[in-house]
Amino acid sequence: MLKKINNFIKKIWNFLTTPYRRIKRELEYKKRLAELKKRDPFIYK
């Protein structure tokens, strides 16, 4: 019973924190992209 409650709380927690994790991942991606752009600035237009 306790295990079921634990799993349920985990599911709720994951659901509530999904937007935060998604935004965090997106920010990390943007930061890394900017670093790589700085590293290889040679763009021909």
Binding site: Y29, R32, L33, L36, K37, R39, D40, P41, F42, I43, Y44
Partner: protein, 253 residues
């Protein structure tokens, strides 16, 4: 007995092509005054400058492979090879359409036309046509998240060319114009010892790659629109490579 012509085959990207030394993306003057051109003069070898503006490492490897396949004549040529490897995150994707990258590489002594069968994915470029624009966002994501894959592939390319040149007993020297960054993960760490460090200038030393080295030293090329180095860094880099050559006897006079 036929006297063989002494040649220095020079492969790489825009840095090796001497881009923007005189302000132009490509010119005879740039090629002659690039670090490779200066080394050819010093060694009394005719430069065959095949570096392409905007090249990727897979493109650079192919420049060498295709030149040997199509042009090399061991009966009349005494060839040495100088290769400047570039930024490891650049990708080439095979395409059914043909691009015209030759329009940016106007002064190569020989142009590897196979480059036009691919499109290039460079981190700051969103693509020029529909095919590129539709593929680029996903590939940028891949480049950002899978840098180890891209770097170990570059080491594989280096080994591919190294073994080709060793097989044909061709003297050669390699260097980095842009640095590789990962040497602390096993997939890369296990490959590096396979590379002959006596033929590779400053292997694994990030700040010794041509572009960051002289950028960190404060050199700015006022004529450049795209940040490429001017005449002085090329001279200094050629001097360093020649010193390395003297110690390790990579290229012959």
């Amino acid at each position: 007995m036929v006297t063989k012509e002494k040649i220095l085959l020079i492969a790489g990207c825009s840095h090796t092509a001497g881009s923007e030394i005189d302000g132009n993306e490509d010119s005879e003057y740039n090629r002659k005054n690039s670090y490779g051109g200066l080394i050819a003069t010093e060694l009394n070898r005719r430069p065959i400058h095949i570096a392409q503006v905007g090249a990727t490492n897979s493109g650079i490897a192919r420049q060498v492979l295709q030149w040997f396949h199509k042009e090399y004549d061991p009966a009349t040529m005494n060839v040495n090879v100088l290769i400047g490897w570039t930024e490891p995150t650049r990708l080439e994707i095979p395409s059914m359409s043909h691009r015209n990258y030759e329009s940016a590489t106007t002064n190569a002594d020989w142009y590897d036309k196979s480059a036009n069968d691919y499109y290039r994915i460079i981190i700051g470029w969103d693509g020029g046509d529909d095919e590129e624009r539709s593929a680029t966002p996903l590939l940028h994501k891949f480049m950002v998240e899978h840098q180890p894959f891209l770097e170990y592939q570059c080491y594989n390319l280096i080994l591919q060319v190294q073994y080709l040149l060793q097989l044909h007993k061709i003297p050669y020297m390699m260097c980095n114009t842009m640095p590789f960054f990962l040497d602390n993960i096993d997939s890369v760490k296990n490959l590096i010892p396979l590379i002959d460090s006596n033929k590779y200038y400053q292997l694994g030393k990030k700040n010794e790659a041509f572009f960051p080295k002289y950028q960190l030293l404060g050199y700015v090329n006022e004529k450049a629109k795209y940040w490429h180095h001017g005449e002085e860094p090329h001279k200094l880099f050629a001097k360093d490579l020649l010193k390395f050559n003297k110690e390790n006897k990579c290229l012959k006079k």
